[in-house]
Point group: C2
Chain length 742, copies 2
């Protein structure tokens, strides 16, 4: 199979038969690279085929040589990808083996990293050489540079060797060369990126499904309940940690005797602080999930790590903008700083809004069309709209990753309720799989790239400092903020939980992606190496030790979702909210229904957990203050957003003022009007309850909550669990995937 057009994406590698000629050419910089492994693999595979197939090209013509080269490049590219795919398959099989034998000291991401390291080492040390031929050129005739930019394309006239071809009469051919980037060190034997991917691949292909799935599968109930703490940790904590690490690193680097002190600017270390601050949920949450750890701890760790990824990417963008556009000197300038600050907030908020808007648009589409009659079309629409959110944000110079996160949250919150059963399963399963593959790919790649990525720059001093700073940054994020939160928070975050939060600060995909994005300077290369090592260390060692630490810190594990709902004093079911709404004149008959039908259901009732079972007296006061935003939003959401975007009750006819009735009727579907309460409840069963309702007749709710195990309390709480149990029983084979959303 030959490839007529040379693929511009292919990186050029000269095959073996070029070595001799390359050396004899004085103006060409020849670079040798270890690539024997690939050649030998190709040889082995090819050998079997050669027996059957006719001997190939008689490569004497430049055209044919180019064609052969393009084919070889395609094969090498396929082989590179094949290595990663096999690596993933191997990881999958080993994960199964580990799960099967209940090995808990190494988790799947750790495994992926370790396999990656092994394969990377093999590629590096068992490799053979290949060449890249460079040639210095200058403009034809007298050069005139009247443009700010170098030309997009160079046209290079090249005399073609013609030994036996009669097809091409002319002796000179013109070849086009497209702009690639700056050569930073002309003298150095710069090794080109090989067996490596374009860093932008991580941002445009690998990260979006991971982040979307994080939003789509967010345990909304517990997430919103801990929203205050999560936002504090994610936004304040991450920013604080970034600046602290940045400052501390800058001081340390300047104290170092070597050349590093000159190559690092404060912006560089600040960038490092921003990229090393976000935590990765993956490994730790896999363990939490397996052990069914305390749900509040779970929500804190998950929520924080989801949001701080978004914060970190915007923060690092703002820092980069500060350095490149706003600041002339690289030193502190007030206007430049303010510009970056406004960048940070505006990009974050606008991305959030675009994501939320696209999510709501999808909800409207699925509500007002009967596209759910054709689940395939519905799923396709869902996927397309979610992906277009990312593209839209990127096209408007916002941050696609942030947009996709909030799109995911909206899709789960609204659209999911409108989907057909088939589409719910399908979208969950697809994104679950995509997420799994993308995550394992990125961790494998982190391992492989430790050996194959040519721009690593090892500096022991920097790496040790980076490890210490990363730990300090995490500590500053967790302990002071927990103390601050505990002033007003009931239940308090116990010190054991704080230790676990500190320890759960693994670094992962986002840190690596941000580090590998820009590796032009020595400073950036050193940062990449340090980041890779921190990621590998935290994922493999911390991830492996998490299990033991959970034991050691006596964190409650094996907590049933159901039991937890009884124990947790802050749970407020949708019934509770509907009581509120009833107080406002809507939602008739809901409470009686739920209280009556489910009170005979019973579960094992554990005693309240020590750290969580605080006094309920202080809490009533402070939740008034703390949760006012959440309460207003929850009210607005249930009254206007959900009736508008989903088929839920109460309808807009009931919640909007009478004068708006015509519009309300237009925005209310027949299904919404005709369905009975029980159906609504089931449809809505996996959506969240995010209201801290100590107001109105929420008081009675509170009272029952304070007496765990009392008949009414159990009944009311379990009404929710019951629905979810029935729900999962219908789809027992999907239990695993539903865990995260329910």
């Amino acid at each position: 199979m030959s490839h007529g057009d040379v693929d511009p994406e292919l990186e050029m590698t000269s095959p073996h038969w070029m070595h001799r000629e390359a050396e004899s050419c004085p103006r060409m910089h020849t670079i040798w690279r270890l690539e024997r492994w690939r050649s030998s693999m190709l040889l082995l595979i090819g050998l079997a085929l050669c027996v059957l197939r006719a001997p190939g090209c008689s490569a004497t013509d430049t055209d044919i040589a180019l064609d052969a080269k393009a084919t070889l490049n395609h094969r090498i590219q396929s082989l590179d990808l094949l290595v990663f795919v096999f690596l993933l398959a191997l990881t999958v099989l080993t994960i199964w083996l580990f799960k099967h034998h209940r090995v808990s000291w190494l988790h799947e991401t750790g495994l992926a990293v370790i396999y990656g390291l092994i394969v990377g080492a093999i590629i590096r040390y068992a490799g053979t050489s290949a060449t890249l031929v460079h040639m210095q050129v200058e403009p034809q005739g007298v050069p005139t540079y009247s443009d700010k930019l170098p030309p997009d394309t160079l046209w290079f006239r090249y005399p073609v060797n013609q030994t036996n071809s009669t097809k091409l009469p002319e002796g000179i051919k013109t070849y086009a060369y497209v702009f690639r980037g700056q050569v930073h060190d002309v003298d150095e034997n710069e090794i080109d990126l090989k067996a490596t991917f374009d860093p932008e691949v991580f941002f445009n292909i690998i990260l979006p499904p991971i982040i979307f799935y994080a939003g789509y599968s967010l345990k909304k109930k517990y997430f919103f309940r801990n929203l205050g703490a999560i936002l504090t940790f994610a936004i304040v904590g991450t920013t604080l940690s970034a600046f602290l690490i940045g400052g501390f690193m800058y001081g340390c680097v300047k104290l170092m005797p070597n050349y590093l002190s000159s190559s690092f600017s404060f912006l560089d270390t600040l960038y490092f602080g921003a990229l090393i601050s976000p935590t990765d949920p993956l490994t730790i949450l896999a363990i939490f999930n397996d052990l069914r750890v305390d749900v509040n701890l779970y929500a804190l760790v998950l929520g924080e790590s989801v949001l701080n990824d978004a914060v970190a990417i915007v923060l690092s963008g703002a820092i980069q903008n500060y350095g490149e556009h706003y600041s002339d000197t690289g030193e502190f300038e007030t206007t430049a700083f303010l510009r970056s600050l406004s960048d940070f907030f505006s990009i974050f908020l606008l991305s959030l809004m675009i994501g939320a808007a696209m999510g709501c648009l999808t909800a409207l589409m699925t509500k007002f069309t009967r596209v759910r009659d054709f689940p395939l079309l519905e799923s396709a629409l869902f996927v397309l709209m979610s992906y277009s959110t990312f593209l839209l944000a990127e096209a408007t110079e916002l941050t696609g990753v942030v947009a996709v996160l909030f799109c995911g949250i909206c899709q789960a919150h609204y659209t999911y309720n409108n989907l057909s059963e088939d589409s719910r399963q399908r979208t969950k399963q697809i994104f679950e799989l995509l997420n799994f593959l993308a995550e394992n790919f990125i961790f494998s790649y982190i391992g492989v790239s430790m050996f194959t990525f040519p721009k690593h720059h090892f500096d022991a001093g920097f790496i040790i400092t980076a490890f210490i700073c990363a730990a300090i940054g995490r500590a500053v994020n967790v302990y002071p903020l927990s103390w601050l939160l505990n002033i007003r928070r009931k239940p308090k975050i116990s010190s054991n939980f704080q230790h676990m939060l500190f320890f759960a600060g693994l670094r992962g995909a986002m840190s690596f992606a941000l580090a590998i994005r820009n590796t032009v300077s020595d400073a950036r290369q050193t940062m990449l190496t340090a980041t890779s090592l921190i990621v590998i260390f935290t994922v493999v060692i911390q991830g492996g030790a998490a299990n033991f630490l959970l034991n050691w810190l006596k964190i409650p594990v094996g907590v049933d979702d159901e039991t937890e709902q009884l124990n947790n004093y802050q749970v407020h079911s949708s019934d509770g909210y509907l009581q509120d709404v009833e107080g406002g004149g809507v939602g008739r008959g809901k409470v009686r229904l739920s209280g009556g039908t489910d009170s005979n259901l019973d579960t094992s009732v554990d005693g309240p957990n020590g750290s969580l079972g605080g006094a309920s007296s202080g809490r009533r006061r402070n939740s008034h203050e703390k949760a006012i935003l959440a309460r207003i939003w929850g009210n607005f959401d249930t009254k206007y957003m959900k009736p508008l975007l989903t088929h839920s009750r109460p309808t807009l006819l009931e919640t909007l003022p009478v004068c708006c009735n015509p519009i309300a009727r237009l925005l209310t579907t027949t299904q919404q009007l005709t369905q009975d309460g029980s159906e609504f409840r089931r449809v809505d069963s996996d959506s969240d309850i995010c209201i801290d309702n100590d107001t109105g007749n929420g008081l009675s709710q509170d009272a029952t909550g304070a007496v765990p195990g009392s008949g009414v309390g159990v009944g009311r709480r379990n009404s929710l669990s019951r629905v979810s149990i029935k729900y999962t029983a219908d789809n027992h084979h999907l239990l695993a995937s539903y865990r995260n959303i329910e």
Copy 2:
């Protein structure tokens, strides 16, 4: 958000502020292109953001200009992709609308094409201009060309304008340019590919899921029953059609008075013949599916179009190899021809073997591990193994598309039976969705590219000839081969069926992908234009008219799969086969079980269909001859392959000679030994029955088959239907997706 490294994949577009300078530079070729639409869209979106955001870069430095350019390119790329994603979303919504209102004269692919055309026209005529700056360069100093190949990278020293930057002291920077390809017409204002994708994207990203899904969802039962006809049409027919079209086109082109006659070689027209011969199943099968058309016709159309894609891609590769490597003159040479022929067969067979081997490997993996306990891991493994098949074939210079097709068939035949229920659903749904998105994308793109692809070359004479030749080629494929097949075939392919087969020869994705792969010469560009038009015409017009034609030709529609099984005299259930095996000493008790438990089940029994209800006398004789290969294979499959690769009974312990018992025990799972017959039957219910068993005690089977409606016959047939009904009832929401496999 700025992008530090310039992405090499981005095509370079100069922003507005470059126009003036570009013109003032005498050595730069400036090309203007319509792109106002993009800029205005960006402007509109950007405007809203500008209010909130601080004014951007003070672009005076080359670095900043390059950065801004990279960012702009990223935005334009995102926007291009966004256009396609929105187009797909729009298509999805319109398809729903059409399905909802039961519009049958336009199908989804036709719709995608039409929307694509509209958007393409808008892009073309509402566009604005952008520039690509070229510069002619020559080697620094005295050029020495001792190499066969042009250098991989050019290093270009460029003086940087520095007005206000103090960060970069040096005035000269070196930029790297990577090899792109040959410039074919230096004088022509060659427009670079924009709003277009690399043709290799089609082969490496879009086609594989489509082809894999075709294999994975093949209605195997009917496929194998019509295997002879399908293979004849696909292999003999496609090759015949390719050579006929090639020859005829060559004659016509040579008669044309214009320049075309000189630019076309016979190989070019032959290549055109190969690329226009494969038919596309999509539109027509969607209609067939909706109308539940006769299953044999369905199987013929589907099977042929699936296989002839594979044949065409290998054939076109062989033709290209002939031209590029084997033949020196471009004229007919016996050795070169034989080489190409051996290429054709060896590549096809080796690709087939790699695909089948990887499918079997996956089956073994899923059989001998308990990875099915973790459906997510299982699905991931399945996807990874399937994708690695494609990569493996590409890395060994075989045809990935062919490998992936046969991998899909093996996965459905063996692996599917080992998968957990969750993974079955998930893999089906995922590939169904991928297939849907990929197909609609390619058809949208065909529409858009009619206007935006810069290398179209309209030539009315060639296009008209191409239309006529395509029709003739199809006719030659269908009618003579049907006549030939009808000599021995019972039931015969009726003339109405032949007309429908002729008419169902829509051209689609594969033709377009092959045509757009290589557009270097005038001849190839003319072929691309003709192919695009043929695809658009056949998909929109023929696809739309299929419904009416089905009526007009009185082809039976609304045929129930179940009823069909009763009517069709050639159906042989697995029970029938097991009787055969029982004759050989295995499969004890199976027949009694199936005959006994299900005979009380009844269905509506229609009279035998006219065209299919042939006399059973002639058929017994000829199926001996015709189906001998299928019979041997079916025997081997049930005796050795299925017991080895799946959990099916009989086990290898029963089928292998006694001396092999230790090995057989090793290859037989406990599950295989402990399960009872009924479980086996259910697990295996969606697999095929491909044996024409007129031998042994299959005679009794035949006798009952010849008396439709008799108790035994109905009972035995329905035992299959029963299983499938129970099966689908369990998964009622998946009915649609299961239709294709069951």
